[in-house]
Amino acid sequence: MPVPTRLRRPLAAALPALIAVALTACNNAQYPNSVFHDHTEFNRQVGHLFDILLWLGGFVFIFVETLLLYTIWKYRRKSENDRPKHVHGNTTLEILWTAIPAVILAIIAVPTVQTIFKTQAVASADALQVEVWGHQWWWEFRYPQYTTTEASGKIDTLTTANELYLPVGRKVNFKLQTIDVLHSFWIPQMGGKRDLITNHVNYLWFTPDSVGEGAWNGFCAEFCGTSHANMHFKVFTVTPPNFDAWTKHQLTMAAFGAVAPAVAAASAVDTSKRGAQTPQSQPGPSQVVQTTPTTGSPNAAAPGTVAAASIGGQPMSATPVVQQAGYVAFPHDKLPRHVIPQTPLPAGLAYNESLKGDPQRGLDFMTKQMGGGCIGCHAIAGNPMMKALVGPNLTHVASRTTIAGGIYPNDTKHLTLWIKNARRMKPGVIMPTLGAGEYDPVTKTNIPKTGLNDQQIADIVAYLQALK
């Protein structure tokens, strides 16, 4: 009865072939989160180890399955009268197939142990330090080497949410902590993951050395509750000058009225010592830095729209080095498609798009009238009323490409709806539903008329969008 062999044999041959095809395909832009990108020394070492595992595993796979298929084909019952000899064992053979796997495993064990010690050595002191804090369900990144002192004498550390900027070619050492449940910090293209354990501090370091300016996805890889699937972050690898410009900009107070681009430009040139051998000062598409954000329709500053228009054909890591005057953020028009959130909005969420927001009104409403309760959770450096640490730091929120843990683009539409009814946009989120008349899926009631109206929300959005 040779039926089983007919299908099994081609299958056994097809599987390794499939693996080979898939591996070559993995470096393709089609698979933007593949672990086979060798952008860092970490991933190169893991990749080397994985090669050994794959080759030896592939060899064992082919050997065992071929032997199995040959055996069941060769010794299929040919006659009901077959009475095979009763063989009870063979000591030589059994020693052999204990010893050979042991040797194979030793071949795996040696580089494994070497890589363990290499990747877990203490990071050198000159590394860029980044503190990663996990929250249900968003990421807080703090750069303790970059601080500024407020007029009051308070020291502010550069703090962002869900967006991580890394200078190309510099080792970065992540200090991983969580304020609530366990999370796991993972950028597949850069290196292995490391868990964030409550009441523990973990470290992970790598050097994004063989990577150009680019944008990458990060995920939470440890189940952390309702919106575990919605806990993403974006990683931007930028040239050292751009990184320095970015830090300078991020450290400025959110003095209302936004940032003067000239300051950032000057500093970018000053600090461009490291790494950027070819600081092409090509103008590039001029970065939209609105110095007068009080103007403009709600849709004018909708980065998502711009990004969506440039979707397609963006090479992933081949983005040319662009050093811009007044670099404040990774250019929206250079964003590769895979970092642009595609999450559809839940049905039935709407707002009055014709309303124009006034940032001053928004600021007054948030801080003087404590409208929406924003001050209860969020911090904005330079705004003495906004000091809370529960939610993401909003100091330069408008410079980010995404909101809500990286699942929605940071544009007027999504920001407005988010303030109106966050709980319908991201299950389980702590941010309350604020819009008047909106249904709150947690309390299962409608928000009363005292909730925010569309005009108030438009004002808040206008203010937030001024925080470049």
Binding site: M1, L7, C26, Q30, Y31, P32, N33, S34, V46, F50, L53, L54, G57, V60, F61, V64, E65, L68, T71, I72, Y75, R76, R77, R83, P84, K85, H86, V87, H88, E94, P101, L105, I108, T112, T115, I116, Q120, V181, L182, S184, W186, G191, G192, K193, R194, D195, I197, T198, H200, N217, A221, F223, G225, H228, A229, N230, P341, T343, P427, G428
Partner: protein, 664 residues
């Protein structure tokens, strides 16, 4: 040889159990075969429940941003899929075989503690019902089958969801522990004369080792669960992070249980395959002693590798190295098993029944799971694999490609023994091929989605991340698996009344269970057999082939006088009609038992009793009272718990004061 002729066909499930039928007979049964049958039906039901949960999970993930399930419903679904498949399907499916087969393979009339056996089943049934009841009040467990603290503590999971899980698992642990002690005692004490440990069937050996794993692993999870339960209900601080707790305590405790649990799930299937392959190759298992030692070694090493589930928690290089290397070591005895199975077939005469196809399927598919297992035994490589779909692919190759393939093979192999009828080979062929193809189409693409960056336990994903194709394939594969399972379910029920009559020994097996009628009489063996070798049935049927094997230590090939002499009195040998002419010469005794009851033959059998069921009901009542503490109904909770405890103690007292058998 004459005794092998004319197999007696009993009507399935009526005459088989001493003629008693009806619901009361099943509620009060202490017969290991009836309890095994109950286990089989219940666990197959929960296998289908778990499969439907998997189907919903796959529908939700068939494409990006789907809305089949909400985030909350998805989290409940994957938690219950894992919990159901592990605790309510595969473990009790194995228990069904333990119950049914261990006494038959060792030549015993029942297990050592028949009433405790009934108690184990009822606790399992009520525990499973308790846990699934949570669906009906919309509060199914949602913290993952691993239930990592602090997510499962009161602060982050205030609902009843985790309460159901914490209490349910403790209840199921009681069932597993009671059964494990029972089987250990049975195997140690109740083997037929002449059956020394190295003559036991391979299934019994694997089952024996699994019982020790259960006994050693379940207390650890029980401690972890009791800590969590005390945190949740009584405000202790084992896992309370605000009080400075270390959440790694949970992970270590959980995986000290959790990894041996993997072997609890796979070793019974290995045992079944080790019976199926020799029977259909017409050869004894290759390297019996090595197979036994490999099983023990796997079980032993299984307790020293738990932290390989935790390479990402930051144990430091020494911890990673130790657990990485011990994990690699486990591949050696596992590989030995694979090669020994292949060489059992080598030189044999292989008949491809459905059971054999599933057994060969296990060897082929488990190998894939083993290889991917070695890939994440290497800690740095694991950091790119853990908590991704690569791991999901790996353990489904081990648990579906391994455990379930073995169990399906076992069902096709032993169904005739249990019911007296054969499952349809034609439908079985459909079932095998659909399962084999469906399983590969479902789980192989998960290797790719994992390495392409897809994390586990996500209820949704965005378009354009490179995961759509693989997820779509996985969902199609699940559809094929479900269709295959429908063939199985149809076959299972149809063959119950329509299957071909099996006879004592439809497959030409070598072990003791094939010497008695199918289905076996209440007392299994009218006369306790005397054993002189590992495959007594082959000694009898093809003595020429087994002649070369020494059968006893003293060199006497066919008659173990010493052992037989010692055990005759204990074995209640009852001469009955149609005896073989020289039973001593074959070392075997095969009887017709054409419908004589135990009473007719003067064999004392344990009396049926309802007390284990009531005792189990009391236990569940007691546990479920805890739920009302969180509803702030303390008096009600106390009443229920006290009431349950009272029922349990009174029925236990009654149980212990009633003799097992009538005086004789």
């Amino acid at each position: 040889m004459a005794t092998m002729a004319a197999p007696t066909a009993l009507r399935p499930h009526t005459d088989a159990y001493g003629g008693e039928s009806g619901i009361w007979a099943w509620l009060t049964t202490v017969d290991h075969k009836r309890i095994g049958t109950l286990y089989l039906f219940t666990s197959l039901f929960f296998f289908i429940v778990g499969g439907l949960e998997a189907g919903l999970i796959r529908l939700q993930l068939a494409g990006p941003n789907k809305h089949v399930l909400s985030a909350e419903a998805y989290n409940q679904m994957f938690t219950m899929h894992g919990t159901t498949m592990i605790f309510l399907a595969i473990m009790p499916l194995s228990a069904a075989f333990f119950n049914y087969l261990i006494p038959l393979q060792i030549g015993a009339r029942d297990v050592a503690f028949p009433r405790l056996n009934a108690f184990s089943y009822w606790v399992y049934l009520f525990g499973a019902m308790f846990m699934n009841f949570s669906w009906f009040i919309g509060a199914a467990p949602n913290g993952g089958w691993f239930g990592y603290a602090p997510l499962t503590t009161m602060q982050f999971s205030p609902g009843l969801n985790i309460d159901f899980w914490v209490i349910g698992l403790q209840i199921l642990g009681v069932s597993s522990l009671a059964a494990a002690f029972n089987f250990i005692t049975t195997i140690v004490n109740m083997r037929a004369p002449g059956m020394n440990l190295m003559r036991m069937g391979m299934f019994t050996w694997n089952a024996f080792v699994v019982q020790f794993l259960l006994v050693l692993a379940f207390p650890v999870i029980t401690i972890a669960l009791v800590f969590l339960q005390f945190d949740r209900f009584f405000g202790t601080n084992f896992y309370t992070i605000a009080a400075g707790a270390d959440p790694l305590l949970w992970q270590h405790l959980f995986w000290v249980f959790g990894h041996p649990e993997v072997y609890i799930l796979i070793l019974p299937a290995f045992g079944l395959v080790s019976e199926i392959i020799p029977a259909f190759s017409r050869k004894p298992i290759f390297g019996y002693p090595v197979m036994v030692y490999a099983t023990m070694l796997i079980a032993f090493l299984g307790f020293g590798v738990w932290a390989h589930h935790m390479f990402a928690v930051g144990m430091g290089p020494i911890g990673d190295t130790v657990f990485g290397v011990t994990t690699l070591l486990i591949a050696i005895p596992t590989g030995v098993k694979i090669f020994n199975w292949i060489f059992t077939m080598w030189g044999g005469s292989i008949r491809f029944t459905t059971a054999m196809k599933f057994a060969v399927g296990l060897v082929g598919l488990f190998t894939i799971g083993g290889i991917s297992g070695v890939m994440h035994a290497s800690p740095p490589a694991d950091l790119q694999q853990t908590d991704t779909y690569f791991i999901v692919a790996h353990f489904h190759y081990v648990l579906f490609g391994g455990s379930m393939m073995g169990i399906f093979g076992g069902i096709y192999f032993y169904y005739p023994k249990m019911t007296g009828r054969l499952l349809s080979e034609k439908l079985g062929n459909w079932h095998f091929w659909l399962t084999f193809i469906g399983m590969n189409v479902t789980f192989f693409p998960m290797h790719f989605s994992g390495l392409l960056g897809m994390p586990r336990r996500i209820y949704t994903y965005e378009a354009g991340q490179g995961w759509e194709t693989f997820n779509k394939l996985s969902t199609y594969g699940t559809g094929v698996l479900i269709i295959g399972t429908l063939f199985f379910v149809y076959n299972f029920f149809r063959s119950f009344s329509n299957g071909a009559i099996a006879g004592n020994d439809p497959w030409g097996g070598g072990t003791l269970e094939w010497s008695i009628p199918s289905p076996p009489p209440e007392f299994n063996f009218a006369r306790i057999p005397r054993i002189t070798s590992r495959y007594p049935m082959w000694d009898m049927k093809t003595p020429a082939l087994t002649a070369e094997v020494p059968h006893t230590a003293n060199g006497d090939k066919r008659l173990d006088i010493d052992v037989a002499g010692k055990h005759t009195a204990e074995g209640h040998p009852v001469p009955i009609g149609n005896e073989p002419k020289q039973p001593a010469e074959s070392g075997m005794h095969v009887e017709h038992a054409t419908g004589e009851s135990a009473k007719d033959l003067g064999i004392p059998m344990p009396n049926p009793t309802i007390k284990p069921l009531i005792c189990a009901a009391g236990l569940i009542t007691m546990f479920s009272g805890l739920l009302f503490i969180h509803e702030d109904k303390l008096p009600l909770a106390l009443t229920i718990m006290m009431g349950g405890a009272l029922i349990m103690v009174v029925s236990l007292y009654g149980w212990l004061l009633t003799p097992l058998e009538d005086a004789h």
